[in-house]
């Protein structure tokens, strides 16, 4: 669950659509997601596995079904990384500019 994995996971438009559906409609099965998308259940399952590895979804067993739930904290962490590291470089480059002025 690194910032890099999160961005790689979200780089695919279909995965972004899966994230949007889970966000809007709540936890869902792979079958239900496939019904809402122009791709097969197998393809949805692959996307869900990748989102799972990036820490963006969690699997929950509900009876005989597996439901996928959005766990968006890694997205916040990824944004946090960018803000923090960007801020650190802003400070360093200000100092660099002063040195070379």
């Amino acid at each position: 669950m690194t910032a890099d994995a999160v961005f790689a996971a979200l780089a695919d438009p279909t995965r972004r659509e899966v994230v949007t559906l889970l966000s809007a409609d709540g936890p869902s099965t792979a079958t239900a997601l496939a019904a809402a998308l122009p791709i097969s259940r197998q393809a949805v399952a692959k996307h869900l596995a990748l989102l799972d590895r990036a820490g963006l979804v969690a699997r929950r067993r509900a009876g005989r079904e597996i439901r996928y739930e959005l766990t968006p904290a890694p997205m916040t962490d990824a944004m946090g990384w960018m803000a923090e590291v960007g801020g650190a470089w802003d400070r360093r480059l200000d100092a660099l500019r002063d040195l070379l002025a």
């Binding site: 669950m1 690194t2 910032a3 890099d4 994995a5 999160v6 961005f7 790689a8 780089a11 590895r53 820490g55 969690a58 739930e69 766990t71 904290a73 890694p74 962490d77 990824a78 990384w81 960018m82 590291v85 960007g86 650190a88 470089w89 802003d90 400070r91 360093r92 480059l93 100092a95 660099l96 500019r97 040195l99 070379l100 002025a101």
Partner: protein
């Protein structure tokens, strides 16, 4: 894929800019803490930053133009920079009309690091 890029333009010439961004003395002054660096591929170093101490290893040097290094929190577990959750920093200097332009890009740690960034989310989800 996750990365930040910043740049700065300075009235100094490329040679001076390169010196400041690639030598221990120069780096110490603008990174904000004592920094050592062995400026060749595989060379090591330490940066005592306000953000914490980091170990580093040099990936690539194109003298006068480009420096790529990996850095990670000092003492992180792992045998390789990847395992230690290292991020990669690229520093480039180029000449322009006013003097020099320095561009830095830091790439977020890749998957495979033991120093992870968001273990809490997964732990909570599995609870």
């Amino acid at each position: 894929m996750a990365e930040v890029t910043r740049s700065v333009e300075v009235p100094a010439d490329v040679r001076r800019a390169w010196q400041v961004i690639s030598t221990p003395d120069g780096l110490s002054r603008w990174l904000g803490g004592a920094t050592s660096i062995d400026l060749r591929p595989g060379g090591g170093g330490v940066a005592d930053l306000p953000e914490g101490r980091r170990e580093l290893t040099v990936e690539e040097v194109v003298h006068g133009r480009r420096l790529v290094l990996h850095w990670w929190p000092e003492g992180a577990a792992g045998r390789t920079p990847l395992e230690r959750g290292a991020s990669t920093v690229e520093l480039e200097v180029e000449q322009n009309e006013q003097g020099s332009r320095i561009v830095v890009t830091e790439h977020a740690p890749l998957e495979g690091g033991t120093g992870s960034q968001a273990p809490q989310a997964r732990a909570l989800a599995l609870a």
